[in-house]
């Protein structure tokens, strides 16, 4: 059974991440911008089409392996996630700190790919991406540590599932608000889509990528987005355990859909910030989450 949970994790994420992206596009178009928008399946077609297109590269190794490493790292992270409140066969081999570093690995792959593309816009984008990573990673870390401090364990299922264990104390509420504010930065959407900034630096880190390499990066971004949405649901929505694994997963996916709607609405109603402005906001978020962790040590 334990192995099955890993397979379900991977399949659910691979299958649904593009669909949720389709939802975001649809919501943005219909709800906010009064237009029809693309079909829900459009992100699938995008990826399929890119997989068959010509693969251009400036001819160095780092550029070629970067997209593969990025996708591999986010898939590994997903394998460790306790979706449906179930520990799986891999849970005991990693803890939350490993999870954080693995997520960072994906970011690093993006950056190295961008830097080795030699394009000045890609370098601008990767510089911004790195700042964002430095500044929002602590928020993610502290969300997980909040649970770790409560159960005195860094194991992934224990710390992820125990944040709301003792109800919504002040620390949990602060952390929830902070996580929601950081969510747009986690998933690289407005007002924090500073690294890609399509109209300004033309997708920054990905500017030189095309064909299958770009498809891999797109998939990586979609999966990362779904990971952060799912993590929010797993951590902050109290477990509604029905006893049936499939049903638990479906309920969680329902909540994930709601988070996506929120992402879409926030993303389409806010203008992009400059990196120095965003940085100030991140700093406030870091301080707030430090307060939350501090409070949780005292059981508040």
């Amino acid at each position: 059974m334990d192995i099955l949970y890993i397979v379900v994790n991977i399949l659910v994420f691979l299958a649904l991440a593009p669909f949720f992206e389709g939802v975001v596009r649809r919501v943005t178009a219909r709800v906010v911008q009064s237009r029809q928008g693309p079909p829900l399946a459009q992100p699938y077609w995008d990826i399929l089409k890119l997989l068959g297109k010509q693969n251009l590269s400036p001819g160095n190794l780092a550029f070629k392996i970067a997209p593969v490493v990025a996708l591999a790292s986010i898939l590994s992270v997903i394998m460790f996630l306790p979706l449906g409140y179930r520990e799986n066969a891999l849970s005991q081999y990693a803890d939350v700190i490993t999870l954080i570093y693995l997520l960072t690995l994906g970011g690093v792959a993006c950056l190295l790919g961008a830097i080795s593309s030699k394009n000045a816009y890609a370098l601008v984008g990767s510089s911004r991406e790195m700042i964002t990573m430095i500044m929002v990673e602590p928020v993610l870390a502290m969300t997980l540590i909040l649970g770790a401090v409560k159960v005195k364990s860094l194991a992934i299922p224990a710390s992820v599932l125990s944040v709301t264990g003792a109800g919504y104390g002040a620390s949990v509420i602060i952390m929830l608000v902070v996580y929601l504010m950081a969510l747009q930065a986690f998933v690289g959407r407005q007002p924090f889509d500073i690294a890609e900034a399509e109209v300004e630096i033309l997708e920054g880190p990905f500017i030189e990528y095309s064909g299958p390499n770009l498809a891999l990066f797109k998939y990586y971004m979609l999966l990362k987005q779904m990971f952060y949405a799912a993590l929010f649901v797993i951590v902050f929505i109290p477990a509604i355990k029905t006893g049936f694994y499939g049903l638990d997963v479906l309920i969680q996916l329902g909540f994930v859909l709601l988070v996506y709607v929120l992402i879409a609405v926030l993303g389409s109603t806010h203008p992009r910030l400059r990196i120095d402005q965003a940085q100030k906001i991140y700093a406030v978020l870091i301080v707030a989450s430090l307060v939350a962790v501090g409070l949780s040590v005292y059981g508040i």
């Binding site: 898939l75 700190i97 000045a120 540590i145 299958p212």
Partner: protein
């Protein structure tokens, strides 16, 4: 066997002394001098490594011995430091053979005179068992020898000034330590640490605080602790020849760590020692050191200065590990006490890892300097194709220092951070320290993405370096490859090293940690095998802490990698190489390059107050 150990220690030192006499005579034949120096250092180094091996794995160490009026002590703890010093000395000597060709205008006799003396001095610091006579001889030998090595390029403007500053500050540190020793009530010249401990019992409370304060500052100077490290470390490390920089950053500053642990965990009287307070002080210094040091490093555009500032930052992790272990040891809770084992093991583990990856980084930068003539990140770029081997090993070292999973820095940083966070459930400030350490780990990553990206990826040398660049010769590659393999081994098999460090502390008599190390029922509480390292405490549910098993994580990553690779192939797309397009410009050019000092400018601006800023 005791005679044997001290006998071979003295023999090894005599061989090194011999090298200092013979090699300068040969120095007009540059290559020959290099080889002879390497062979003699290697012979002595192997003898010293053998001492470490016997001490750690077979005997558990020897008693204090008085040789020529000086007390010596080789136990498991000093054996560890002997091992890292002699190992890196061999690597550095090997690398020097070819590297010194890069200074055709300088005579080499002073280099080969002081190189072995420097090694003797460092070995001396970690083996003498007093804080007066023997300590002074070793410290002066180490300091003066390294002073001449640092000012080797004396014709370059500013180098002599920086070297002089180094000398003065190290003498100041020596004064601090000596004064501390003589403040102890009734201490005499040549007292062994045991005698000092007894005399400390009779020293009044207030004096004892001053003694420990002075010792911390003295050794803190050497270890690069904030604010003392900033005064000398970046200047000295960046101007020395690269093999020497590797030794300075890799092992010399570790003698400060040795001193701090030796004095705060061994030189402790039965009463009147406030471990909790000193733990808090050391841990706070550690966290400030790693925060400031790493943020200053992020601003550097000179590759060697960047590594040097990171040495300060990484020493912060080690000092944090030491301090938090001391805090945890003095806690009332059994759980937290057990965690001090993990924290101090992490500190020593990071010491080892830092030796290897920082040595490797300095040697790699040395190779870049050798091949291109510059270490300015604004000028470098695009060396991946020209120097592929150096690029790969520098990549491994960068990932190690940044703490990516399955590389060496990850295992040791994980150990320090996780023990702090877990202990934080009782002691609030430790969790904050742990989070700061985690945050700084991301800054380290940013800095090394810049170093690697701006040296080996990106572009630049096409326009900024006139000479033809080619990969460095094999004699410069071999030491780097050995170090790179070690980086991988130390990251992949943490359980071997955990076992090693636990047995070191278990077998080194006299430390305040020893009781807790020998009390632990390792079967029940500390699980340490190929399946990872975990600490559990009876009566508490589940695992308290678990280390990621790098092998499993790596296997998962590999499986995912294969999947992603197949996905990319699945569409059957055609592959083509094309030059980078620059939005309207046909070709890349030097004017449109994005150079290193532009990276992270918003972040650097926000952290101006941390100092270490670079003028444009």
């Amino acid at each position: 066997m005791n005679i044997d150990l001290y006998g071979s220690l003295l023999t090894a030192m005599a061989i090194l002394l011999g090298a200092a006499v013979i090699v300068p005579i040969l120095s007009s034949k540059r290559k020959l001098a290099g080889w002879v120096n390497f062979i003699l250092v290697a012979v002595a180094g192997v003898m010293l490594l053998n001492i470490s091996y016997i001490t750690i794995f077979q005997g558990g160490g020897a008693e204090t011995q008085k040789i020529m009026g000086i007390y010596f002590l080789i136990d498991g703890f000093s054996a560890f430091f002997i091992a890292i010093i002699s190992f890196l000395a061999i690597m550095s000597a090997f690398y020097s053979i070819q590297y010194m060709e890069h200074y055709p205008d300088y005579k080499l006799w002073s280099y080969y005179l002081t190189f072995p003396l420097f090694i003797i001095g460092m070995i001396g610091i970690v083996t003498v068992d007093d804080l007066s006579t023997g300590f002074t001889i070793a410290w002066q030998l180490m300091t003066i020898a390294s002073y001449f090595l640092i000012r080797f390029e004396y014709r370059t403007e500013g180098n002599v000034r920086n070297a002089n500053k180094y000398l003065i500050l190290m003498e100041l540190a020596w004064v601090f330590i000596i004064v501390a020793t003589f403040l102890i009530n009734g201490s005499a010249v040549g007292d062994s640490l045991h005698q000092l401990i007894e005399k400390m019992g009779a020293t009044s409370g207030m004096t004892l605080y001053i003694v420990y304060g002075l010792l911390l500052v003295g050794f803190g100077f050497k270890a690069g602790m904030f604010p003392f490290g900033q005064l000398w470390l970046p200047d000295a490390h960046s101007i020395a020849p690269s093999p020497i920089s590797a030794l300075l950053s890799g092992v010399m500053i570790k003698t400060g760590v040795y001193g701090i642990i030796r004095t705060f965990f061994w030189m402790v009287p039965a009463e009147g020692y406030d471990g909790q307070l000193w733990g808090i002080v050391i841990a706070s210094f550690g966290v400030v050191t790693l925060f400031i040091g790493t943020n200053q490093a992020l601003k550097q555009v000179d590759a060697k200065r960047l590594h040097a500032y990171h040495s300060i930052g990484q020493m912060g992790y080690i000092i944090l590990g030491i301090g938090s272990a001391l805090v945890m040891l003095n806690s009332a809770s059994v759980t937290v006490k057990l965690l001090s084992v993990i924290a101090i093991v992490g500190a020593l583990y990071h010491t080892l890892n830092h030796t290897v990856f920082k040595g490797l980084l300095f040697l790699s930068t040395g190779s870049v300097l050798y091949a291109t003539g510059t270490k300015d990140l604004n000028k470098l770029g695009g060396l991946m194709k020209l120097m592929p081997v150096t690029a790969v090993v520098a990549g491994i070292a960068s990932l190690s220092i940044a703490g990516m999973p399955a590389f060496s820095g990850f295992a040791s940083k994980w150990t320090i951070i996780s023990s702090n966070i877990l202990a934080g459930s009782r002691i609030m400030f430790l969790v904050i320290f742990g989070i700061i350490a985690l945050f700084i780990s991301a800054v380290t990553l940013a800095s090394y993405v810049k170093f690697f990206g701006m040296t080996f990826a990106s572009s630049g040398v096409e326009w900024t370096v006139a000479k033809k660049i080619k990969e460095v010769p094999a004699t410069m590659l071999i030491p780097k490859l050995i170090l790179a393999i070690l980086c991988l081994v130390q990251g992949l098999f943490p359980f071997i090293y955990f076992g090693l460090f636990i047995s070191i502390f278990k077998n080194s008599a006299g430390s305040i940690l020893q009781p807790i190390f020998s009390e632990i029922m390792f079967d029940g509480m500390v699980v340490n095998n190929a399946m990872g390292v975990a600490v559990t405490v009876p009566g508490m549910q589940g695992m308290v802490s678990s280390v990621a098993v790098p092998l499993v994580v790596l296997a998962v990553l590999a499986a995912a990698y294969v999947f992603a690779w197949l996905l990319r192939k699945s569409g059957g797309a055609e592959e083509k190489e094309a030059p980078t397009w620059l939005c309207g410009y046909q070709d890349l050019n030097n004017k449109n390059r994005y150079v290193a000092h532009n990276m992270y400018s918003a972040f650097k601006k926000a952290l101006r107050w941390t100092g270490g800023n670079i003028k444009k």
